[in-house]
Each structure stands twice: as C-alpha cells, then as structure tokens.
C-alpha cells in the first residue's frame, strides 16, 4: 500500500491567451519509508508535480485541474485549504533548492523553529527551545547553540540548507518532498547533505520524493526512479534497473549525454532539439521529434504508461529499445 499515490494529475496555468497544461501526470507513487527519485530536465514538470501534492503553487494562476492524490486514505485533491494546511509541514514537508525562499530573513533560525514546533507539535517555552536545539544538532549543524541565534544571511549555503531541513523535519513528517535540495551547493557539501538525508529517513522512517535533474544523485540515493518528460512520467522502476537497462529512448539518450572521464576528447551523443512543453504536445508521443525510434505510430498515438514486474514505460517501441541496448 503506497503512502502517496498520484493518478491523472493535471496542473494548469491560467494566462490571458488561455489555459495551458503544465503537468499531466499519469501515475506516480511513493511507498511508506521509500525514497523515490523524480528526474527530469527544465520544464519537464517535476517541480510542479512536487508542489501539486499539497497544492502550494507559486502564483494563484497555477492550479490543480483534476486527478487523484491519495495520501493516507484521503484524496488531497479534494481537500479544502484549511485541511491542506493541517497536512503541510506535519504530514508532508518540503525542502527547496534555494533555502532563502523558505527561511524568513527577519527572524533568527531558532525563533522560526520554536514557532513551528508550537504550531505542529504544541510545544512551548523551554521544551520547544530544547527540541529546536536538538533538531539543529540532528541536522549536524556545528555549534547548534550559536546557530539558534543566527539570521539566515549569517550562514553559509550548506548551513542554510541544513537549517531548512531542520525546519522541514520539525513537524515529524511522514513524507519529505525535496526539490533539488543540493543543486546550488559544492559537491563536497552536497555529499554531506545526501548522507544526512539518508540518515534521517532511516532513523525517522520518513519517505522522500527526491526531485532532481542529476542522474548521479538518484543513482545512489533512491530506491525507485520516475523519469519525467513534457509533464508526464515516461518510465519508472527500481533505480539500478532503470539506469542499467533503460526502456524509454529518452532515459537511454539522457544517460548517454552525460560527460564522463571515459568520454574525454570524444563527441558526446547529444539529444537533438530541445524539450517540448506539455501544452505544445499536439498528437502522438511527446518525444517523437527527438527520438531515433519514432515512426508513424508514434506520430499518431500517445503511448500510455504501462508495465509489470515493478517497471513501467510509455513507449510503443520499448522492447526494441531494450534489445538494441
């Protein structure tokens, strides 16, 4: 039984020219305590998919326009704002790429944390303060007692990201949605934070939806993968299987496009053209214009996400793709 199960979720944006579809997600699920990597390039809809879960969109023009978001026996897509507010932070928390967007520049880290603990867990006074310090230590901030009184701008990027994780886990969420949480950081700091994520989810039993463009990160942090393209999932499965034996041409080409030490001096296999937005998909498969396997069938009918044995793929020719690999 999945902790989170999204089905046929549509996210749209209302613009003067009309309503455009950003995401039309056929299916995505996260199990209890599971880490799922949601991978995609710019404009693939991965961020909007994460925001759709508790419907925290950047502007009122973006909204949920249908679908099911099953979480713990209820459909989040049908909840009103007041009920969603009780879920946010307490059941489902979020961490973003830029901690500055979630940390209030006007208050010290400790004060924000104490307020959150009162809101989510009803802790007050010395107990809240004690728990706040424990959380700062939990995210391995050196000298938690001093960080407690620091303002966000006084911390380094890596420390700010740790502080943000402390805020995210303050409500003891069962699901953490992490959107590119290490992208702005140096690789050595990134490695430390990825370790922290791993510790936290093991010790707190938290499930994580890890949204990223970085295939290297998901390869070593996620149990399952979902690859997104043009607002929909095109392939899912256990991480090692998807990365070692990709079924969707896009997954395969994406892996081949990554520069490596072994590719030195050679030309890379770049994917021709640029990504398409969901609203520009007219008929057939959204990947057809960039796909070496595309034929008449791909131009006429959009493949649906299908599969068995824990793997799904949305491609008419996936068997051929697998054979040629």
């Amino acid at each position: 039984m999945a902790l989170l199960e999204m089905r046929d979720v549509r996210v749209v944006v209302d613009a003067p020219e009309g309503t455009r579809t950003l995401v039309r997600l056929s299916a995505l699920s996260v199990g209890e305590g599971e880490v799922v990597g949601l991978v995609g390039e710019t404009g693939s809809g991965k961020t909007m998919t994460g925001l759709a879960v508790t419907q925290v969109f950047p502007t009122p023009a973006v909204r949920l326009a249908g679908g099911e978001i099953r979480y713990g026996g209820q459909d989040l897509a049908r909840l009103d704002e007041a009920s969603l507010r009780r879920i946010r932070g307490r059941e489902i928390a979020m961490v973003f790429q830029d901690p500055a967007t979630s940390l209030n520049p006007l208050f010290p880290i400790g004060k924000v944390l104490v307020d959150l603990l009162a809101l989510h867990r009803g802790l007050r006074g010395a107990r809240a303060r004690q728990e706040a310090l424990a959380l700062l230590e939990r995210v391995e901030l050196p000298d938690a007692g001093r960080v407690f009184h620091r303002f966000p701008h006084e911390l380094s990027g890596g420390m700010r990201q740790r502080a943000m994780i402390a805020l995210a886990i303050a409500g003891r969420p069962r699901l953490l949605i992490a959107d590119e949480p290490t992208t702005a950081l140096d690789v050595t700091v990134q490695a430390e934070l990825l370790h922290l994520f791993d510790d936290l989810r093991r010790e707190e039993g938290m499930a994580v939806l890890f949204i990223t463009h970085n295939l290297g990160i998901v390869a070593h942090t996620s149990e399952r993968l979902a690859i997104m393209y043009a607002g929909d999932v095109v392939e899912t499965g256990p991480t090692a299987e998807v990365l070692q034996r990709p079924r969707h041409p896009y997954t395969r080409l994406l892996l081949e496009a990554v520069p490596r030490r072994s590719s030195a001096g050679q030309r890379l296999k770049a994917i021709a053209g640029t990504a398409i937005a969901r609203s520009d998909v007219l008929a057939g498969c959204p990947f057809q214009s960039r796909c070496p396997y595309a034929d008449d069938l791909c131009r006429e009918a959009e493949p649906s996400l299908e599969g068995s044995d824990g793997r799904t793929v949305a491609c008419h020719h996936w068997e051929e793709v697998t054979r040629r690999a």
Binding site: T188, Q190, L215, G216, A219, T221, P259
Partner: protein, 323 residues
C-alpha cells in the same frame, strides 16, 4: 617545452572585507594567492574548484576585467598590462559566461550580439560585416532565420551558442569559458560541449575552462589545475590527475561526485564545509578539512612536488606518505 599561449606567474588578488557602520576595511580575502599556470597554444586547461576557490577571480584577471595585485600574465610571450588593456589585446582574449542571457540585449535581434564586437574591433564593413556575423552564427549552429529573432524567443542552448559566436567574432587567441554549461540541461550541455570540441578542432582555439563540474573538465580539458582557497593544490594532465589524484583535496572532490552508474560505488569522504580564507594564514588552506592533517600543514606552506607528470602542493606527498 612548447611555447605557452597564456602564462600566469604567481598571481595574487586580494579583496578588502569591510564592516561596521563606517564600512572600514576589517580584513581581506586572498581570492587568488600565488597561482601559476600555463596553456600551450591550441590546448585546453581546466581550472576546477568549489565556491571560494578563486577560479572566477583568476578568470576575471586573465580576461582583463579586473586588475590584480601581484604577479604577471603573459599572452604569447607578451606581458599583459595590469590596468586597462589596449584594443588590440582585448581582441585576443574573449570570454563566455555561465549565464548566456547576460551578454544579450533583450531589445535587439541576436545577430547584433555578434555584429557588435566586429564593429568594435573594426572587422569588416557594412553588408560584409553583417554577412560575417551571420556566417559565424551558422558556424555555431544558429540558422539565419533564428539570427533575426530576439533573445527571449530562444532556448538556453541557443543563447549559449550565440554567446560562443560573439566570443569567437574578433578571432581571439584565447577563449575563457566560465562555467559554460552549468545553467544548461544535460541533453543541451552535450550539444554545447560537442560544439566547443568541434570549434577547437576547426579553429585551433585555446581554451581556459573554469568549472566546478569535474566530468566537464575531464571531458574537455587536456590539463587541469585544482584550486582551493586561492591556491593551486594539484595540477597536471587531466587523465593522470583524475585517475590517480594525489592531493587529499583532489581525492575528496573526485570521490564526492556520484556516478550515474549505480554499480560504481559512491563513498565520499566527508570533510566539512568549504570556507573562504581571510587575512594571511600560514600553511595549507585545506588543513582545516584534511583527513591527513598534522602540525606541519598548519605552520608551513607546502612546496611544489613534481610527481607523475604533474605537480602537487602537499606535505604528505613531499614526505612520501602519498605516492
């Protein structure tokens, strides 16, 4: 030794740190702290490092965007002035920035971005100049009909192609690439890396590549310089250094990158966050995070040790503890 197109000798650049109500100078950051490097003509040198390593300050000095405090820079054997550059020298060194949007005027068609440097350096005239701009754009994969469009109508990859054409327009000897693909998606990054490889083969351009992405450095560069805290930690042929890093910092950095192949183990050593060095500390800048640190590292600057075709600044290497 073949003639160096670019040679940097013991370059130093310090920034003042101001504080308090009166914004008095409180201390200083040694952004570039005695860096030397050389690039043979037609080669690509990668400068790898994390934030605060001094790689961007170094690049800004090399392209003449910034005066340095001490040291010397030579371009094809000729000393580069520390102050404003003469026009003829500016023509010879060009730069491609991380954010391609920054070098494009949103109110003018993109062909103007390439036309402008041709005009500034007095290359070609009238229609011929226009044709030359369009040819340059075609060479980087921007067809004529796209050249008439405005920047907002183009993708990130197309904008970076235009930035590359703009840098190539005056026919420079050296192109400094500052994180040229960091803002791009993987599939587009591959296109731009291929373009840079092709241009280099065709035109023999020399590149100074600044990047935090170790795989991009490995892919594009012949030689690498690893910077930390404004100093060179290790330098040498990129293949040799990446396959057998000797400096503990180089090793930490390389081990931190997770490979998309899940069968390759990922066991990064955790060294604690990077810090920018202030004022004048003695010893190795990496001492505070290094797993192999001892008293000597904190009290004595490491000397250059030539080993395995490269050079390493580490007491442990000098002592023979790392081979």
């Amino acid at each position: 030794m073949p003639d160096a197109l670019l040679e940097v000798r013991d370059l130093r650049k310090t920034y003042p740190v101001r504080g308090g109500v009166l914004q008095r100078v409180r201390s200083s950051i040694r952004a570039v702290d005695g860096v030397s490097l050389r690039i043979p003509k037609g080669a690509t040198l990668g400068v790898a490092g994390e934030s605060g390593s001094g790689k961007t300050s170094l690049a800004r000095c090399v392209v003449g965007l910034q005066a340095w405090d001490e040291g010397e820079i030579f371009l094809a054997g000729e000393s580069v002035p520390r102050g404003p550059w003469p026009l003829a020298m500016r023509r010879r060194v060009q730069m491609v920035f991380q954010d391609p949007g920054g070098s494009l005027d949103p109110r003018r068609p993109v062909v103007d971005a390439v036309h402008e440097p041709l005009e500034a350096f007095g290359i070609g005239e009238g229609r011929g100049r226009r044709e030359r701009a369009l040819d340059l754009l075609e060479e980087v994969g921007i067809p004529r009909e796209v050249a008439r469009r405005y920047p907002h109508a183009l993708s990130g990859g197309q904008r970076q192609r235009i930035a590359i054409a703009r840098a190539l327009a005056p026919g420079p000897d050296l192109v400094v690439l500052d994180e040229p693909t960091s803002a791009l998606d993987v599939s587009v990054q591959a296109q731009i890396l291929n373009l840079l490889t092709d241009l280099r083969r065709r035109l023999g351009t020399t590149y100074l590549l600044i990047s935090h992405d170790l795989e991009v450095v490995a892919h594009l560069a012949d030689e690498v310089v690893v910077l930390y805290g404004g100093r060179v930690m290790e330098a040498g042929p990129v293949r040799a250094v990446w396959d057998h890093p000797r400096h503990p910092y180089t090793a930490t950095l390389l081990e931190a990158v997770p490979d998309p192949d899940p069968s390759r183990p990922w066991t990064p050593r955790l060294a604690g966050g990077a810090e920018t060095r202030r004022t004048a500390p003695v010893g190795c800048p990496f001492a505070r995070r290094c797993p192999l640190v001892d008293e000597r590292c904190r009290s004595e600057d490491p000397r250059a040790v030539e080993i395995g075709g490269g050079v390493v600044f580490c007491h442990r290497v000098e002592e023979g503890a790392i081979v």
